[in-house]
Every structure is written in structure tokens, then in C-alpha cells.
Symmetry: C2
Subunit: 318 residues, 2 copies
């Protein structure tokens, strides 16, 4: 039998798991509530239990799994396998998630930043499978980033590389969750899109809706709401400023955008492209395709599984 | 005899050459006027002649030179050895400088972007000789950049990586020479410092001086000129915005600043550090030393010589 890998996307709400081949075929998925408010030990026990259940449902023993990859929010330390802190996981302070899971499962475990895992998934088997250098922006509650350079993830000296949501696009601008001002995340996260719309749209019914989401703003823009359209356009422009800056650092072959907002379709992407074309050097822009995710919500679990595969095959982190 | 390498810094005003060992000892320098207005062929003939003269002065034959490195302004193509275009070198359009020099000298020649060469020099034998990942900002007429990641230069898909002067620090801000607005270069080049001072200082004697240089502004600031001090402070802040953004992309171990402006001393550097500390994630800031060049004006020739050494030793670009 060919080797099998499990990828786990450790989210604040759900644990999402996938069983994959070394080539990145996704055979089976599983999603269970994280139960984050119970703290790290019960969550890690639930992760181990979910791996067992996923294997069992696929007719496999734990020993049939070559390795397990965990994509997790950070800051974390990939080499040591420790999550230092995670805003959406109460009580996770310096948790040795890799060694704990390794002991519980008796399998090799690899820890990876969640946005890096998404980048690696798109790089190995997604939108960027034909290139050697790319970065991803994950537009969700925050803006995450992951970079692949010459086929390997860029982690930096302390696993703080590719924090692309905190590239500054407007010096002295909107306050970001990180405490700084003007970060890309303060403009282009799904959360920021909703906040900016509420602040700028005035007294419209839509802006006063209690459970407003970024996709509602995008839908309203598409339906002709002028305030929403202005927010969407400005979001495209801020994204382009961040992307152009990063193109001038990395000059990659591809930029992949992902997250619920990107479901709004090709028009938004085309608007971003127009701004980047104007803001970036021709040699940087022409070398680069700017596109949507191919793997969507599976990028994290596939990337985690394939990061485990890389470690299993090479003995090195992806 | 141990191997000898020549590094050439191809500037718009002068050709600077250095003869170095594989370990980066600089034995001998030579500087001759570029004569750029005569166009590419005479300049390339002068480069070859200068290499011959440098070897001769050192008691060497051309055959004693293992390889020659050229650090040149771009855009250029390192793999093909071609300078596509150079703003300060009239008539240089798609000039095959590597092959032309190789034929004239009968020695292996390597072409490298000039700021990349400076980064590589600092990385191999300068301020960054003890780290594996760093970037440099060269603050001159423009703002150049070079990045070393895991011991190798980052060139990108089309040799447009590390154009760090064109990271956007103020969306919609000052017009940059590249045609875009708000680039780091539009605030932090020596040229921009002088222009900003002239625009903001009003009618002071200093601002009306016809041949004003950035170091004059820095000296005036140190001597208590309030307008000059404000410009210097703002320059430190814009540099910090750009540096913080790049830290969040690369998370390197070191940032090296170079160029005449940095001669103004530790106080300016300390002011930049204060802003970066405030703007960057603690894990990115704490991993990173921010310091001045160690090689100064020799970084380009040493980096070019050592890029030639790397190619001679490994068959790959640095």
C-alpha cells in the first residue's frame, strides 16, 4: 500500500482532518468541534482521538499512517513543535503539541503554521503546483500569509516570516489587532471589511444588521449598494498595495488569494490585478500570476499532510 | 598560490575594482572614471582594461584570476548575464556584459545586481558574516536592496526581488522616480532627504544652498536646525515602516543599512531601532540586529568578487 498521511487544521472552532496520499489525493475528511474552552490537554486528546477515528473509518490502523501534520495558529516554533500562544485557543501557552501527539499516537508528527500549511498545499497540489516560488494571503478573521521560495517554506529566524497581514499599507492608519496601525490586516481581513463598511456606510439597513459578514458587503456591492461598492474597491486597492510591496521583496511566480471573500468571484480579483499592475515594476508584475485558491478550505489539511510527507521523506521541515 | 578574484562595481560615475582572496581579503583597489556617456562598448573595453591593470599592479597574469564578478545597476538578468537597462548608463539596452567581458578577458565572469552584491559582501565578510539570513538597504541616490536567505541571494523569478526601495510606505504619498507613489525610496534616499528638506524647511539659508547633500541635512540636524531635525526624524520613521514590513515578510537575523547617510552615526540608527521595535512583532524584532555596514564602500566590490568565487566553487550563482 502506498503511504498515507493525516493533516490536521487546528482551528478555534473546529478540528478539520484529512487523510491523503503522498501525491496529495484527499481520500477522507473529518471535522469535530475543537472545544477550545476546555484548554490544551482535552483538545490534544481530541486531536489524537480524531486521528484514530479517521484511520479507522478508512480501514487503516494507526501504524498504517506514515506521519501526521498539524497546521496551527501561532506564534509557534516549528523546530521545537511548540505553540507559544494562540489568540483563539485559551490557555495555549508554550504547549508541546508535537511531542504530546507523537506520544499519544506513536506516529511522527510535524507542526506547521496554519497559513504556511495552506501555502504549502497550494504549492504542492493546488493553484501553484507548477511554480517554484509563490505566496498566499488568507483573508479571514485576520490576514495570514505563507511563502514558498525555491520549493521550500520561508519560516524566518523565529517562525515569524510570512506574517503578510502585518505588512504596513498605510502608515499611521487603522488600528490593527496586533496593536500597530496601518497593517494590511486592518483593511483587508473579512473582519476589517465589515468594520469599515459599518463606519463608512452611515445609517443604511445593511450596516445596522447585527450579524453582518464580509460576503454580505460583497453581495451588496454587486447588487449596486454604493457604500458597499466603495468599501470593496478600497479593499482591492489596499490588497494591491500590500501585494506590490511583497512582489518587490520576493518577485515570485504566483500570488494566491484565499478565504471566504474570494468567493465573490473574478471581478474582485481583476480589480486587484489592475491596481498591482499599476503599482509594481513591470518585470515583477509580468512574472507573476495573481489567482484564487484551487484547494479552498482543503488547503490547510492537505498542506499539513504534505508537510508531514516532506518530513517523512527528507527528514527536514517542508 | 591561493585563488584570486576581481570584483567590479559598475557605477554611473566610476568603475571601482578590487582584487580579493576566496576568503574576502581585499588586497588592492582601483577606481577609474566610467565615461558612461560614451556608451556600452567603450565602457566594457575600459572594464576589461582596468581588470588587466589591476592584475598587473598586483604582479599577476590574467590567467591567475579565477573569476571576475560585476555588480551592476539593473534591471538585469543574472542567468543570461545581460543588463536590460540602467538609468545612469546611457545606451545600455540589453547589453550582454558577461559574455563580452568573458571574451575580452578569457576568464569566467559573473553578473550580479549591485545592491545584491553589497548584501553578499556584508553576508560573507561584513556585518552579517555570522548570520544566515539578512537584508541590506543601500541609501544613496536611490534606495537599493539585497536579501540573503539561508545563505543564498534571493533574486526572484525575474531578478526583481529585493527591490526594497519600492516597498510602499505611504500609499498615495510622494512621487517616486519609478513613477509610483509612496515608495520607501521617495522618502529615504539621499536625494529624497534633500528634496523633502528643501520643500519643508522654507526659506532657510541651508535649504537654498545650491549643492545641498543629505549629509548636510544630517549635520544641520545635529547642530540644532529644527527643520533638518524634523526631516531626519521622519526619515528614520519611514525607514522603520519599510523595515518592519520587510521583517514581517522575511524575519531575518540582521538588517544592514549602508550609504553616506549612515555615516551620521549611531543616533540615527538608534532612532530607527526605536520605531522598528514599536512597529514589528516582538518575535521578529528580537531575532533581528539592525546595524550599519561594516564594509562601507567596499561591500560592492567584495560582494562581486565573492559572488564570482561562489560561482567558481559551486557552478551556481551566489
Amino acid at each position: 500500500m502506498t503511504k498515507r498521511y493525516v493533516g490536521i487544521d487546528l482551528g478555534g472552532t473546529n478540528l478539520k482532518l484529512g487523510l491523503a496520499s503522498a501525491e496529495g489525493e484527499l481520500f477522507r475528511r473529518l471535522s469535530v468541534p475543537t472545544g477550545a474552552d476546555e484548554g490544551p490537554d482535552p483538545v490534544m486528546a481530541r486531536m489524537a482521538e480524531a486521528v484514530r477515528r479517521l484511520a479507522e473509518e478508512a480501514g487503516l490502523a494507526l501504524d498504517d499512517l506514515a506521519a501526521v501534520g498539524v497546521g496551527a495558529p501561532g506564534p509557534l516554533d516549528c523546530q521545537a513543535g511548540i505553540i507559544h500562544f494562540a489568540p483563539n485557543l485559551p490557555g495555549w501557552i508554550n504547549v508541546p503539541v508535537r511531542d504530546t501527539l507523537q506520544e499519544a499516537l506513536g506516529r511522527t508528527v510535524v507542526l506547521e503554521n496554519d497559513a504556511n500549511a495552506a501555502a504549502y498545499g497550494e504549492f504542492r497540489v493546488g493553484a501553484a503546483r507548477d511554480v517554484r516560488s509563490m505566496f498566499i494571503l488568507t483573508l479571514g478573521t485576520g490576514v495570514g500569509g505563507g511563502i514558498v521560495h525555491e520549493g521550500r517554506l520561508v519560516r524566518g529566524a523565529t517562525d515569524t516570516a510570512a506574517e503578510l497581514g502585518h505588512v504596513i499599507v498605510a502608515h499611521g492608519g487603522r488600528l490593527c489587532g496586533c496593536g500597530n496601525r496601518g497593517c494590511l490586516e486592518a483593511y483587508a481581513s473579512a473582519t476589517a471589511v465589515v468594520e469599515r463598511f459599518r463606519q463608512e456606510a452611515g445609517v443604511s439597513d445593511l450596516a445596522r444588521r447585527p450579524r453582518l459578514e464580509a460576503k454580505d458587503v460583497f453581495e451588496a456591492a454587486a447588487a449596486g449598494d454604493r457604500a458597499a461598492a466603495r468599501i470593496v474597491s478600497e479593499t482591492a486597492e489596499y490588497l494591491a498595495v500590500g501585494i506590490a510591496s511583497i512582489l518587490h521583496v520576493l518577485n515570485p511566480e504566483m500570488v494566491v488569494l484565499t478565504g471566504g471573500m474570494m468567493g465573490s468571484g473574478e471581478a474582485f480579483l481583476e480589480e486587484i490585478r489592475g491596481h498591482v499592475r499599476r503599482l509594481a515594476f513591470p518585470s515583477a508584475w509580468e512574472a507573476c500570476r495573481l489567482c484564487s485558491s484551487r484547494l479552498g478550505g482543503d488547503a490547510g489539511i492537505l498542506g499539513s499532510a504534505l508537510a508531514a510527507e516532506t518530513f517523512d521523506r527528507t527528514g527536514q521541515l517542508a
